[in-house]
């Protein structure tokens, strides 16, 4: 427990130092970095809940976000809603979609070896992205909104205001999740189930219900995020894949089960990426940051656990 705290403090202070340096050298990088970090944190938090608290490996995470974005897109174009309003119906639909996905497939692999769960959710990811491909084709889609392009200027730095909605969203998600895990009955049960499913069953916790609710809740959060995602980015069936990887990397980096640290990990990734992007010809190399980071994090964690 103490070690965790030390890592958290070290991580946060590293991010802070990096931010201050950037603020002095080139504030634009800092602003863009924080906005990017918000997107990463918002999508990684539901995975942190599923993977970190109840230990379900879901390789269809990014694809569920993609499906939610498409849902929101069709709700908006059909009923003329604003995506930010459509977040509510999308979230509700995604809750039930998550429920269906969990009950029909993932629930059957909880007792099986980890390998089965990996391959299974990989199959789920494929079904989701290919079904969307089948229905909507691979043509990119986008919703144009006026308020998204609003910008502000402080000193010599001008930047989009709207993009700060993602850090705000991440903060809301984090607050909701922490409240849920600490204060509600099912949230407390989830922590117990994650630590020891058999023990939890013995003391009378409805383990199956807990898994189902956690997974559906995470799907709902992804649904809300999907609606926000469509306001800013164009969507296509393969858009989700990288987010599965990024979320996984961030959760691994933050430490399994450490929700607040996801924000810190996202900040490190977001700032580093925006730093590389600002270098001439750097844009093509940005993904290297992330893949390099994921390998370093995974390897260092596995070596530490061996010692």
């Amino acid at each position: 427990m103490n070690k965790k705290k030390i890592y958290t403090i070290a991580g946060i202070s590293a991010a802070l130092v990096l931010s201050v340096i950037l603020l002095i050298i080139k504030p634009t990088i800092l602003v863009y970095g924080i906005q990017r970090a918000g997107i990463y944190a918002a999508i990684a938090l539901p995975m942190a809940l599923v993977l970190g608290i109840v230990h379900i490996v879901n390789l269809a995470h990014g694809e569920m976000m993609m499906v939610a974005a498409y849902l929101s897109y069709f709700i908006c174009t059909t009923f003329g809603l604003d995506p930010l309003v459509a977040a509510i119906p999308t979230g509700i639909i995604m809750f039930f979609l998550g429920l269906i996905v969990f009950k029909t497939s993932i629930a059957h692999t909880l007792e099986a070896p980890e390998l089965n769960q990996l391959i299974l959710t990989f199959g789920v990811a494929m079904v989701l992205s290919q079904t969307v491909n089948l229905i909507a084709t691979s043509q990119p889609r986008k919703i144009s909104l006026d308020y998204v392009s609003a910008s502000a200027t402080i000193g010599e730095v001008s930047f989009g205001i709207y993009d700060f909605i993602f850090p705000a969203l991440a903060a809301v998600f984090l607050a909701v999740l922490i409240y849920f895990l600490k204060k509600t009955r099912i949230g407390k049960a989830a922590s117990a189930v994650g630590q020891n499913p058999r023990g939890a069953r013995i003391v009378g916790i409805n383990v199956d219900l807990t898994y189902t609710i956690i997974f559906s809740l995470a799907s709902m959060i992804i649904g809300v995020f999907g609606s926000f995602f469509i306001t800013k980015f164009s969507i296509f069936p393969a858009v989700g894949g990288t987010f599965t990887m990024k979320s996984f990397a961030l959760v691994a980096m933050a430490g399994i089960g450490n929700l607040p640290m996801v924000i810190g990990a996202s900040l490190v990734l977001g700032l580093a990426e925006s730093l590389v992007m600002s270098v001439p010809h750097g844009a093509g190399w940005t993904p290297m940051i992330f893949f390099g980071l994921i390998i370093i994090v995974i390897l260092s964690r596995s070596f530490r656990s061996k010692q």
Binding site: T109, E114, I119, L120, T137, M245, W285, I295
Partner: protein, 315 residues
């Protein structure tokens, strides 16, 4: 499992028939069917290589990475070093194998999802480097191959891929019968027991990882020879990971014939579906992965083995 296959007289007959069909196929059909055959065989080789590694319990998502690496190694060596097409395929196998050996030394300490995700990330790193290293690799536009194997003639290239597949099948069977197989199975079943009984887990994993990556690299090189060009998007396509995985699962994991049967069935089905559903025909593959995992974890070969056994005991 393997004992039922060996004892049973039905299997050699089935494979004999399939083998004859494969060999006479090019003489009765046009180039279109031959090109489908080459594609299916490429996937079959990938599926077998994936299976050879999963026998140790290590799930690799790095197929597309080594496949792309191999295809680029072949094309670049042919362009810059004027390698003969066949030498370039061998060269690609060596490059992919060497790369797997180097990264495997570190990565093979990981297990389960960490190994899977890291292999996926490695493949992406290869792609990004090749995508951005424009002066050497041609960047997003890729490279053209100056001279194809057999000048791209349909029947000889088809024959080349059949021979390649036979070599890989033989190699996989050798793996199944050799000491390596027992070591890898022991690792999958219980790593701690395997370790305490004196098996050098790390060595055997490294051998398996290197060999399978070399196969994937050679498959990529062979594919580049068939199509005559490479681009980051086509050579590192995620399909080269997804499709072989589905094939091996459907046919039956942990065997040689499972991936072979899965590749023939799914490969032909996939080409057929592609004609009618150009977008999203791969949804079938995803559904098959899910259904097989939930209801038929041993795949077709496992199921057939069980049924045949039942039939015998009734006699």
């Amino acid at each position: 499992m393997s004992s039922t296959v060996q004892k049973n007289k039905t299997w050699p007959v089935i494979f004999g028939i399939v083998g004859v069909i494969v060999i006479i196929l090019p003489f009765f059909t046009g180039p279109y069917v031959q090109s489908i055959g080459r594609t299916v065989i490429t996937y079959m080789i990938l599926a077998i290589s994936w299976d050879m590694l999963i026998r140790s319990g290590q799930l690799s998502f790095g197929l597309a990475g080594f496949f792309g690496l191999g295809s680029y190694a072949a094309v670049l060596s042919a362009v810059n070093l004027h390698f003969n097409p066949f030498v370039s395929i061998l060269f690609a196998a060596v490059v992919a194998g060497l790369m797997a050996f180097l990264v495997g030394a570190v990565v093979l300490r990981l297990r389960g999802m960490y190994f899977a995700i890291t292999t996926l990330a490695l493949g992406e790193i290869f792609r990004i480097i090749i995508h951005n290293w424009t002066s050497v690799t041609g960047g997003p536009n890729g490279k053209l191959l100056p001279k194809l194997a057999f000048d791209g003639a349909s029947i000889p290239t088809y024959a080349m891929m059949v021979v390649f597949a036979l070599v890989i099948i033989a190699l996989s069977e050798y793996f199944k019968r050799s000491k390596i197989h027992y070591a890898l199975t022991a690792i999958r079943d219980n790593e701690i027991v395997a370790k305490s009984s004196g098996i050098n887990i790390y060595k055997y994993l490294l051998i398996a990882f290197t060999v399978t990556a070399a196969i994937q690299g050679a498959a990529g090189a062979g594919f580049a020879q068939l199509y005559g060009f490479v681009t980051p998007e086509s050579s590192f396509n995620a399909n080269y990971t997804l499709i072989p995985l589905a094939m091996a699962l459907l046919g039956g994991m942990y065997s040689t014939w499972g991936p072979v049967i899965g590749a023939v069935l799914l490969g032909v089905l996939g080409e057929f579906l592609k004609l009618y559903i150009p977008y999203g025909h791969l949804v079938v593959y995803g559904i098959i992965i899910i259904l097989v995992l939930l209801f038929m974890p041993q795949g077709i070969v496992g199921m057939a083995g069980k049924l045949l056994k039942k039939g015998e005991s009734h006699e």
